[in-house]
């Protein structure tokens, strides 16, 4: 083990000891904050996966990804308000059916949109200097924000409140309060991440993606359609972001046009934290960032939260440049 490794472990150990003290002295608060953090982290994880998959395959930081996530929430809100707006706040079967239908619809729409973005803004620049697609990605981010701004303006947009809550759907265990919503977010994210893992490791397309990520030229020589594989990566990333947007909307019930900027930045941090290009890394990174943010809000003060998150990012990059689980990027 090198010196930097020791530094990393010492940092981790300090954080764990500090948190354990809190968990011991005031377990009720600690576990309550942990629940907030897990729910937020689950959503960050879904967004982080999109960053990490795209980076892993074409080494592009897709700055527009956070806005794809927000657009998913906007489109979901529009469709849900149309079908199930009347049943808000009450638990009826129609809501469940509406959600079961709208989730895949939004995910597919977002997948389609992201493929289009890739085709227009990134594919023509695939062999251009690295800076060019980075700039178009920032441009796409502003375009998407502009579209949402034109659609609903600056004020916050209400996302239909279709998840059951209130008495009967919430409980207090050992002083820790949580509701159906909290469970829903974590379970939904876990299901999606598991499906992704099965797909990447088990399907032919998943294998092609892994091969393309490892060595694009060699993959092409083996007969893999590179354009199709990369498009599929964008599609899946956006499917997860779309689902993330829906889950965010259902959980927070308020969305706004530039929501993706901050969420995207945090999710990107999560991806780097877990090791960019590394899919399980992004999922774990998202969860950890969510928890760190919640602990910081609860124990340090929310004005320091951003400092803490990015301080950790600097720490990780200094002591462990490849992230928690190691980077997976094309071999040179």
């Amino acid at each position: 083990m090198s010196l930097t490794d020791y530094g990393f472990y010492i940092l981790c150990a300090t954080a764990i000891v500090l948190l354990a003290t809190q968990a011991f002295t005031n377990p009720k608060d600690f576990f309550q904050v942990t629940i907030f953090g897990l729910a937020d982290g689950a959503i960050y994880a879904l967004v982080a996966l999109g960053y990490t998959m795209v980076y892993g395959i074409i080494e592009l930081i897709n700055f527009a990804h956070g806005d794809v996530f927000t657009l998913g929430a906007y489109i979901g809100a529009a469709i849900l308000a149309f079908f199930a707006g009347a049943n808000e706040g009450s638990f009826v079967v129609v809501n469940v059916i509406a959600l079961l239908l709208v989730f895949p619809i939004v995910m597919l729409i977002m997948g389609g949109i992201n493929i289009t973005i890739e085709r227009i803004a990134y594919r023509p620049l695939r062999n251009a200097p690295r800076l060019a697609p980075l700039i178009t990605a920032i441009g796409m981010s502003f375009v998407l924000e502009g579209i949402m701004f034109m659609w609903h303006g600056a004020p916050t947009v209400h996302f239909p409140d279709l998840l059951p809550h209130g008495p009967g759907f919430q409980t207090t265990i050992g002083g820790v309060f949580f509701g159906f919503k909290d469970v829903f977010v974590v379970v939904a994210a876990a299901i999606l991440v598991s499906l992704l893992a099965v797909f990447i490791n088990g399907s032919k397309l998943g294998k092609a993606m892994r091969a393309t990520a490892q060595d694009r030229d060699a993959a092409q020589l083996m007969g893999i359609d590179i354009n199709r594989t990369i498009a599929a990566t964008f599609f899946i990333g956006a499917v997860l972001a779309g689902a993330g947007g829906m889950i965010w909307g259902l959980y927070f019930n308020t969305i706004y046009y530039n929501l993706g900027f901050r969420t995207g930045l945090v999710a990107f941090t999560a991806a780097v934290f877990g090791g960019i290009g590394n899919i399980p890394g992004a999922a774990i990174g998202g969860l950890i960032i969510g928890l760190v943010a919640a602990y910081s809000d609860g124990y340090i003060g929310s004005k320091w939260t951003e400092v803490v998150i990015f301080g950790i990012l600097i720490g990780v990059l200094v002591f462990r440049p490849t992230g928690l689980l190691g980077m997976r990027v094309p071999e040179k």
Binding site: D29, Q32, V33, F36, D40, A81, G85, E88, G89, F149, G153, A154, P155, T156, H158, D161, H165, Q170, T172, F177, G179, K181, F252, N253, T254, Y256, Y257, N258, L259, F261, R262, T263, A293, A294, Y295, D297, G298, G301, S302, K303, T305, E306
Partner: protein, 434 residues
């Protein structure tokens, strides 16, 4: 949408202005036109409602012959950038008005931070600014808590800035009094949005609440671009035994989303704040947890003033939209009339088109102005003698009739029957004279 509608209204108003100027030509409306500008965040519902009040006052005045024979032309400027107010945009707008000698004064701005940037460029040109909504005390008062001084903003020039609302140093204490004495709560948590306005109003609330004998469980702050989940902060308030939350901030900083999240952590106590939360957007952000949001407004409620009933009824006829009327619409109406009165007097003094300095000098002489919200004076710093703070509370599930008789500040769509209703008012002018 809001912006598009604003444009249509604006165009219509200008056309009405021209039409009236033409038709009343025989009555002396042919002396020419003078311009009044406004600088408001028109992208927000609150900013738009203020602009409506200005347009309405000008329409009325033009319909009855204009100002001493001059037709008043209105031009509204928007200081929104990226969906919320921007001091830079405000400065640009004021510079545009200063560049056109027809402009004899402006109504606005809406946000104190914008006023702070605008006064220094308007003061040397003696350009009258009357704000219907600025409540930051530092714009007119040299308080020890201020980070800047009113005399520095004016840089040695005569005062060119007035406001028809009172200041946050009354707004915060009013809510502190209300919570401590009326609701009888002794422990609160305070949250501010890190803006000049939010920090100022939260600070004045905290000082007064502690003076009364109350306990502040915790004072937390956040920044809009960094926070989307307030649950950990709220939990700390809850566990500290807070019986109410006081927020210093505005809806465009998402200050009311925490109201919704209080429900998510199973915590039901009043959510209180200043005029920045007395908005439709705030009700929308509360998203299912609207009732028991308490808000102060630094001014008398026009709907509670007998003298304003006729003006409001006439306004509603001219602007029938659900969000057209807001908490500061009548203040804007009064500000515009005060400005037009001053211009009228200046026209007489100058015996012709007055200079900006003449208008400013006449505005400074305003005494016993009879407005819709009361009869009042302005002191030499620009503050109104009317020191009334109103308190409002959101009631949910109102009947359609009750919605109509409320402030009209209601949510949209699913929350359209949740509206702010007037609760009580504090008169600090009376309290200090007693």
């Amino acid at each position: 949408m809001v912006r598009a509608r604003g444009l249509i209204v604006l165009t219509a108003a200008t056309m009405v202005a021209f039409a009236c100027g033409g038709s009343t030509g025989g009555g002396g409306g042919s002396k020419g036109t003078i311009k009044i500008g406004s600088d408001l965040p028109v992208c927000t519902v609150g900013g738009q409602a203020v602009q409506n009040g200005i347009q309405f006052a000008i329409q009325q005045r033009n319909a009855s012959g204009g100002v001493e024979g001059y037709t008043v032309q209105f031009q509204g400027f928007d200081d929104c950038r990226q969906g919320s107010y921007s001091a830079d945009a405000g400065v640009e707008n004021v510079q545009k008005m200063l560049g056109d000698s027809k402009f004899l004064g402006m109504i606005g701005p809406y946000n104190s931070a914008v006023a702070k940037a605008e006064i220094p460029i308007a003061a040397p040109q003696h350009f009258v600014m009357i704000s219907p909504a600025n409540t930051n005390p530092c714009l007119t008062k040299d308080l020890p808590t201020c980070s800047y001084h009113p005399q520095d903003l004016r840089a040695g020039n005569a005062n060119n800035y007035w406001r028809v609302v009172t200041t946050d140093d009354y707004q915060g204490p009013a809510m502190a009094d209300y919570i401590y004495k009326q609701l009888k709560f002794t422990k609160v948590g305070i949250l501010d949005d890190s803006t000049v306005f939010g920090v100022g109003i939260a600070g004045s609330f905290e000082t007064e609440f502690k003076k009364l004998g109350g306990t502040v469980v915790k004072h937390s702050e956040y920044k809009k671009e960094q926070t989307s989940d307030w649950k950990s902060i709220l939990l700390a308030f809850k566990n500290g035994g807070a019986q109410a939350v006081y927020v210093g901030g505005t809806d465009d900083q998402n200050i009311c989303i925490p109201r919704k999240q209080m429900k998510d952590i199973g915590w039901d106590v009043p959510f209180t704040g200043g005029d920045g939360i007395e908005t439709s957007d705030c009700i929308n952000q509360a998203s299912g947890n609207e009732p028991n949001i308490y808000a102060t407004s630094a001014g008398a409620d026009a709907t509670q003033v007998d003298g304003a009933k006729q003006a409001i009824a006439d306004f509603r006829k001219a602007f029938p939209g659900p969000n057209d009327f807001g908490g500061y619409t009548m203040q804007a109406y009064d500000a515009t009339n005060a400005l037009m009165d001053a211009i009228g007097r200046a026209v007489k003094t100058a015996n012709g088109t007055p200079t900006r300095d003449q208008v400013r000098a006449e505005m400074a002489k305003t005494k016993g102005f009879k407005g819709a919200i009361g009869t009042y004076d302005f002191d030499d710093k620009g503050d109104t003698s009317l020191k009334i703070v109103s308190i409002y509370v959101v009631k949910g599930n109102l009947s359609d009739a009750d919605v109509k008789s409320s402030t009209g500040v209601c949510g949209s769509k699913t929350a359209k029957n949740a509206c702010f209703v007037w609760k009580t008012q504090f008169d600090f002018a009376q309290a200090s004279s007693q």
